[in-house]
């Protein structure tokens, strides 16, 4: 307590020193006066009296000094002094200060912003108890109901299992009709995940049966938005897809299932489900062996690994469907933890981006180190003078240290707002489909880490020259005016520059590869003509529309739309290209009845290929006559090749299906889940065959189709005013959206590479400029001896180029080692593409030569007379 109080007073004393100083002087003077008075009384002469008094006092100045030390905290006082001095010296060299602070701040900000997002989307634990035991089970990306049933019943490695599928539902009943993203889930799902509703209950096993399932659980968001957060909504009836259903539960905020990537064939963006219905499999779903439409989630028995579980499930699979494994076109049976399933989707791009940022931060640190060393060298003379005037070595090191810390702290202060902005910017430009990204906030732990790194750099490299200079060779430095300095630091700086260039090259190569892939994807064949096509989505729930009525509606709508002014043709399709894979059917041909192909099915109207501009390679399109009994289908090129290998034109061949389906046409491939995705075999059938509740309408116009949206909507309204229309977009936009993620990666990587290159060129400029300044004298002599200005210029530029070349050589090796990590992100570009490597290295050297040119010009302008006279 006593000590605390005293320390506090001393801290205070540090601030009010001037006033206290005069008071102390007064008090001591009074003391001397009184002593002198007494001495006079004892009969001394005035001079002697005063002298005796001073003697008795014992050194006025040393008393004052020790009084001062007592009064304040001397260390604190020095710190203030050093800090003031640091700011002053920063103001004196604004260029250095700006570059150092900016590069550190940007480095810190970029790392923190990106890591904050990575942390939120990849590293944070799933909000379920014991998430390590949660796994998704799938065969080639999905599962069928019969497989699920067998696994659930027989697998001893699984504790619990649930089936789910994402759907969209029309929600109505005393409210505006709305299309709500939703999921059908097994009753066991909630218990399996370990989540509980905030109000009400979840489904019972009884409700998970066909005909008993008129219940619905809603999400917190929907509850607050549509029902005003009123708990009395429990038990209320709403109309879901035209059927009255009772709300029985409300999930807590933040509950998100399915998350997206755990869904079969997830391509994103997928809006999170806000409503859950019991799975309640209907008859045909229960028995359909080819319907790979569902997702399966399970909780492993304690102590069981995914590998063990996969082994057991494979054995079950071999027992019940031995032929299935041979027909696999994908990864076959997989058992993955939920975390892997979710993060795999985004892991590679984000991890690579993070690597890029880390390299950028490293470069920033190297650059600052470089600047600090350069400044340290410049100040050798100043430091030498101070040492010879009696400054303690520790005191000087401490002062330089303070300057470094001030520098790092300034960067930190700048970095925090930049980070906040950066996070917002990243969220804004991030491609859709990264789960949880919207809730990313500044991660203080990362910020602390990045700050620590910056501080460490500043300390380490701010102090190294201080230690060296403050050493015994101070006199040497003084003698030469700090000019002809050689030694460890003049070797360290070029080494740092080489490292900087090497790191930059790795980034430049990586970003060039990504950019090249992006261009390749953007120019890859679409298989359709995206210009002048307007699309929107619509759904006709089964409760109001049986298949027959739905087909009639679709035929009517497309016929009506085709007659709108400006419209060339109109069509409907179950799912548009680039918006996700369709339902899968396992089918065989009559030519090879035992070889099953996982076919994706699209329902279309006759004008579909014309409207989208998809080329018919053989055979014919559908006609309205096909909307009847005759079983016809059109296949894409991939399906034709895979199902009838060796048969160039399979038109007229039959697919094994109830009664046999005849192939009447073959069309070009279009990509379902992205321009860079693998093309799957597709089967086109008339809507009469297969009419999903939700489908898309597409209209081709002669000119810009955006203005047609209102007309098409009103045609829909004329037929049924209660059905919500969603996803109105021009096809061009859908194409752009599908490559948004790649563009995002390429742009971001490009930014980091540019940032790195900029820093590296600043660094090389600094080193060359410094060496020119050091060698002014030598240059002068050489010129006096007859060297031409060109010689001097070339000499300096070559030095810059040599540094860059060394960096490039090192960087090329590094890039060769690193780029294979990029492989999964590349498209039609090899990870070791020589052209990219060569061009990047050349760019680097060019930048270095450019950066070296300015100091080179200065060197060439040296006037030998002035220079030698200066001596």
């Amino acid at each position: 307590m006593k000590t605390l109080r005293r320390t506090w007073r001393r801290v205070l004393g540090t601030f009010a020193s001037a006033r206290h100083d005069s008071e102390m002087a007064d008090e001591m003077e009074a003391h001397l006066q009184m002593q002198t008075d007494d001495n006079l009384k004892r009969g001394m002469s005035p001079a002697q009296a005063r002298r005796e008094a001073v003697l008795k006092f014992g050194g006025l100045e040393s008393a004052k000094e020790s009084y001062r030390d007592q009064r304040s905290l001397p260390s604190l006082e020095t710190l203030f002094q050093d800090t003031r001095y640091a700011f002053r010296s920063m103001r004196k060299s604004p260029g250095f200060t700006l570059v150092a602070i900016l590069s550190l701040a940007l480095g810190i900000a970029a790392t923190t912003a990106l890591f904050s997002i990575v942390n939120r989307t990849l590293l944070e634990p799933l909000p379920y108890p014991d998430p390590g035991r949660l796994v998704t089970v799938s065969f080639d990306g999905a599962i069928t109901a019969p497989l699920f049933e067998n696994f659930r019943r027989d697998a001893r490695s699984l504790d619990q299992a649930a089936l789910f599928i994402n759907v969209s539902l029309n929600l109505a009943g005393n409210l505006e009709p709305e299309r709500v993203p939703a999921a059908r889930v097994s009753a066991s799902l909630f218990g399996l995940l370990g989540v509980h509703p905030q109000f009400g209950r979840t489904f019972t096993a009884e409700e998970d049966r066909e005909g008993r399932d008129a219940v619905v659980v809603i999400g917190d968001g929907l509850w607050k938005r549509r029902f005003g957060g009123d708990p009395r909504v429990l038990g209320r009836k709403v109309i879901v897809n035209g059927i009255p259903q009772t709300i029985i539960g409300i999930m807590p905020p933040g509950f998100q299932f399915p998350y997206g990537p755990e869904l079969p064939d997830f391509v994103g963006p997928f809006p999170p489900a806000e409503m859950w219905r019991p799975m309640a499999l209907v008859g045909w779903e229960r028995t359909c062996d080819g319907c790979f439409n569902f997702g399966m989630i399970a909780r492993l028995r304690r102590g069981v690994t995914t590998g063990q579980s996969r082994g057991e499930l494979t054995a079950i699979l071999d027992r019940i469907a031995p032929s299935l494994r041979n027909g696999s076109t994908g990864p076959g049976l997989t058992v993955r933890t939920l975390r892997d399933a979710i993060s795999n989707q985004v892991r590679t791009p984000v991890v690579i981006l993070f690597g890029a940022v880390a390299v950028a931060l490293l470069i920033a640190c190297v650059n600052v180190a470089n600047l600090l060393i350069a400044r340290g060298l410049r100040r050798r003379a100043e430091i030498a003078v101070r040492i010879s005037l009696g400054a303690a070595r520790a005191r000087i090191v401490r002062q330089l240290l303070t300057e470094s810390v001030v520098l790092a702290l300034c960067s930190a202060a700048l970095a925090i707002p930049i980070t906040a902005l950066g996070i917002r910017a990243l969220i804004a430009i991030a491609p859709p489909g990264i789960p949880g990204i919207a809730s990313a906030t500044l991660d203080t732990r990362v910020l602390a880490f990045a700050l620590g790194l910056a501080l460490l750099t500043a300390l380490l490299f701010g102090m190294a020259p201080a230690l060296a200079t403050a050493g015994r060779d101070a006199i040497e430095a003084l003698k030469f005016g700090g000019r002809s300095v050689t030694g460890a630091h003049s070797r360290l700086r070029p080494a740092l520059i080489v490292a900087e260039f090497a790191l930059s090259l790795v980034l430049v190569v990586a970003s060039s590869l990504l950019a090249k892939s992006f261009v390749a994807v953007a120019h890859s064949p679409l298989g359709f003509h995206a210009e002048n096509v307007l699309t929107m989505r619509l759904s006709l729930p089964a409760a109001q529309y049986d298949d027959h009525r739905r087909v009639a509606f679709i035929d009517q709508l497309t016929t009506n739309c085709a007659t709108l002014p400006g419209v060339l043709s109109a069509a409907a399709v179950s799912t548009l290209p680039l918006t996700g894979e369709s339902e899968g059917w396992g089918l065989a041909t009559e030519d090879r009845p035992d070889s099953w192909t996982d076919l994706r099915a699209r329902a279309i109207t006759p004008a579909y290929f014309r409207t989208l501009g998809i080329r018919l390679r053989a055979g014919r399109e559908f006609t309205f006559n096909d909307h009847g009994a005759s079983q016809v289908a059109i296949v894409n090129e991939t399906a034709a090749r895979r199902m009838w290998p060796g048969i160039p034109n399979p038109v007229g061949r039959k697919i094994k299906r109830k009664g046999g389906t005849t192939v009447v046409g073959i069309v070009d491939d279009t990509r379902a889940s992205g321009l860079d995705a693998e093309v799957r075999p597709y089967l086109y059938v008339p809507f009469a065959e297969f009419s999903p509740e939700e489908f898309a309408v597409a209209v081709r116009s002669a000119a810009d189709p955006a203005g047609l949206a209102a007309a098409v909507r009103s045609e829909i309204r004329r037929l049924d005013k209660d059905q919500p229309v969603t996803h109105v977009a021009v096809m061009r936009q859908l194409v752009a959206d599908s490559i948004a993620a790649r563009r995002f990666q390429a742009v971001l990587m490009g930014l980091f590479a540019g940032f790195a290159l900029l820093l590296a060129s600043v660094g090389i400029y600094g080193v060359v400029a410094y060496s020119v300044a050091q060698r002014t004298h030598e240059i002068g002599i050489r010129m006096a001896l007859g060297a031409s200005r060109l010689d001097i210029l070339a000499g300096v530029v070559l030095r810059a180029a040599a540094l860059a070349l060394a960096g490039a050589a090192l960087g090329l090796a590094g890039a060769f080692a690193v780029t294979p990590l990029l492989r999964s992100l590349l498209y039609r570009v090899s990870a070791g593409e020589p052209a990219v490597f060569a061009a990047s290295a050349m760019l680097l050297v060019a930048v270095a030569v450019l950066a070296g040119f300015i100091p080179a010009l200065r060197a060439a302008r040296v006037d030998p007379m002035v220079c030698l006279r200066y001596e």
Partner: protein, 114 residues
Amino acid sequence: MREKNEVWQGTLALMVLKTLETMGPQHGYGIARRIEQTSDNLLSINHGTLYPVLLKLEQEGSIRPEWGVSDNQRKAKFYHLTKTGRHLLASETRQWRQANEIVARFFALPGGAS
């Protein structure tokens, strides 16, 4: 060196406190004179060393300074003993006596006081 100084300071602080207790408020010069007189001039201190001690005591809250006028009409800083100071003095005195007593017992041992 440093330690010795601290011991000395501690002792000096105790003397200052005791002086202020017996004499009432006193300025630095008065305290120095009194200490010298009390010790029969056996203890001769540099008056300058007194001030850091006074400052330390003030910072701890044991004494409180106040500007006043001395007997011979000089403006001087007078130090008052505070309540904290009295407590401190009492406890320090007790400790000092105890230590004294212990050392004295050692000297009282046969052959100890030679």
